[in-house]
């Protein structure tokens, strides 16, 4: 009896021991993992999480010119914002801008990527050219287009003139300004989307095309039944990123139009900038920023909900 008891006790003791050692090991590996995460946690906290929380906090206050909170106003900033015609117009312009830029960027880049994916002599040259806008800064590109859009010496109006059309005030005419900015943005974005899409195309297994060749599929049949479905994860990524980028457009607006004429190109990020650093209304600027954050979040969630169904991951 006593002997069996002793045996039981020693096994219990052993059980306890190795449980404790395992616990120790788990804590150790957790700490190790945290050490690896620490740099990004610190960086994200300083430059992302803190500003985000601070923005939400600020959106409930009025501030002085230095950004120090003065009066708590609750949701007043938001209510005022949505009753302001300028902000409503800014939202409208932003959505219009997204609508102008995203589909056209994707379609042109897809077309360029498909033709640049052919195995031809000197195709590397074209691939470099098509993706080159990726290496041009927003400021440089904007200045470059500023000259193209110049009302008298600009290339576009010179061409229109020689063809016998009237000059267009690309950046000063309210009907054209948003389109002009969109064209600039599309041109700038093509490099990135082209490169990503070309990468996607190149990762499609060549066997699929060879098999289709033997089956007697034509060029467009292959494009429709193989290329587009197999490219769908890449397309989905590109669409999501392009939409987010379009919502956050700032640089080209600042250089080309400064939100004018008649606020037609006053996109939401530019509006936030003006509210904060021209009008020194940090409270309402923060409120706008929060709204923009929510819009982008919703758009992305919607995309994942509806868009991802049509995506075929391999």
């Amino acid at each position: 009896m006593s002997m069996s008891n002793a045996v039981v006790r020693t096994t219990e003791l052993k059980q306890l021991d190795f449980e404790q050692i395992k616990k120790k090991q788990r804590t150790k590996s957790f700490l190790k993992g945290m050490m690896f995460l620490l740099p990004s946690i610190v960086l994200f906290s300083i430059f992302l999480f803190y500003p985000l929380l601070r923005t939400i906090y600020l959106s409930f206050f009025l501030t002085d010119a230095k950004g120090v909170t003065t009066v708590f106003v609750g949701f007043d900033n938001f209510i005022n914002m949505f009753s302001s015609p300028i902000f409503i117009q800014s939202i409208q312009s932003t959505f219009l801008f997204v609508l102008y830029t995203v589909p056209v960027t994707i379609i042109i880049s897809l077309f360029l990527a498909v033709i640049a994916n052919e195995k031809l002599k000197g195709i590397g040259f074209f691939r470099t050219i098509y993706s080159s806008t990726m290496g041009i800064s927003v400021a440089a590109a904007s200045v470059f287009w500023l000259y193209l859009f110049h009302p008298t010496i600009g290339m576009l109006n010179v061409i229109l003139g020689t063809l016998g059309f009237e000059n267009i005030g690309w950046l000063t005419d309210p009907t054209w300004a948003l389109i002009a900015v969109s064209v600039t943005t599309i041109w700038m974005n093509i490099g990135f989307t082209f490169l990503i899409l070309l990468g996607g195309l190149q990762s499609i297994d060549t066997y699929l095309y060879e098999s289709a060749d033997i089956d007697g599929a034509g060029y467009f049949y292959k494009l429709r039944r193989i290329t587009i479905p197999m490219l769908s994860p890449t397309l989905f990524f590109v669409v999501t990123v392009t939409i987010i980028n379009a919502f956050q457009t700032f640089g080209q607006i600042d250089i080309l139009t400064q939100g004018g004429p008649q606020n037609t190109t006053n996109l939401i990020v530019y509006s936030i900038y003006r509210e904060a650093f021209v009008n020194y209304q940090f409270g309402s600027a923060s409120a706008q920023a929060v709204v923009l954050f929510i819009i982008i979040l919703l758009m992305t969630l919607l995309q994942f909900k509806f868009g991802e169904r049509k995506v075929h991951y391999q």
Partner: protein, 372 residues
Amino acid sequence: MSQVELVGISKSYDKQKSVLNEIDLSIEEGEFFVLVGPSGSGKSTLLRMIAGLEEITGGTLKINSNVVNHLPPKDRNLSMVFQNYALYPHLSVEQNILFGLNAKKVDKKEQRKRLVETAQMMGLDELLKRKPKELSGGQRQRVALARSVVSEAPLCLMDEPLSNLDAKLRAHMRVEIRRLQKRLGLTMVYVTHDQVEAMTMGDRIMVLNDGKIQQVGKPITLYNEPANLFVASFIGSPKMNLGKAVYKPDLRQLMIEEKLAIDVDSTYLDILSIHKNLTIGIRAEHIFPCVDEKQTHQLEVVNVEHLGNETSIAFDIGLELWTAKWPGQWDINVGDSVPVHITMENFCFFDTKTGELIRSANVGRKQEVAAI
């Protein structure tokens, strides 16, 4: 009538590196023809040239006596099964099978009919709505076969279709493909690097090495009368035991790898007097245990593999490792010295310099295809 005819087919890249040299070959209608060779021998390139996926650098390719060098793959009226099956991951099994018919705009009713027939034949009825990633390796293989069957093309090309399967499934699919080919009367060109697959499936085999034809013939012919040293060592498992042989006229003996002395029969004297540099080859099953035959040599065992129905025993012969295969189970250990029976009539003689066969084994001829 020959279905596929290759006349002086060559392939080179960038006009420098030649991959295939002057291949002449004709494949008969309804034949199961196997292209076998080590990796890099050009066998897949040859198949892809027949399919039209690879440009032909030189020579003429005829299918049904028409020159097809210039035709795109779809106009050559053939089907192909790829090594990784090339199934479309975003399409269901049914859509995968019908992909080609859709592309060729075959009538919907006809499509249905062929789909039902093919699915039944390949045992895919239950799986038609599934996506390729929801299938096992064997099932994917069957879908790939079904896709080729449904096209009803008379010529079917297969590029190492079994290399992604495990050994058991591979053995099973070998039989299935063979039966399918016979039932449908397809002409099959089958590429593999596995000589067992080649031996078991082919009506005829072509052994390819370094872009040159080594030998074309029936599996048994290749086994018994290998045209050169490459075929001798490539066909058969285990490979043919090879050794350099020197004739000692004063002793009337043949020294193999300076270790084995074999008494020379007078019928071999002419060969031995003409050819100075000889390599001899002997199949594993021709190194006999001393049961009925008298002992000729005593050899030390360096490795034993018990396979149950037979025992494979390895010996060191000079620098070469020779293997003997004895039927049944033998109680032998490594380090034992066993008596064996080796005679000249089982030798294949090769010219060491050129590698060409001089004379094949007598026994091989004698026992060729035991008729029932």
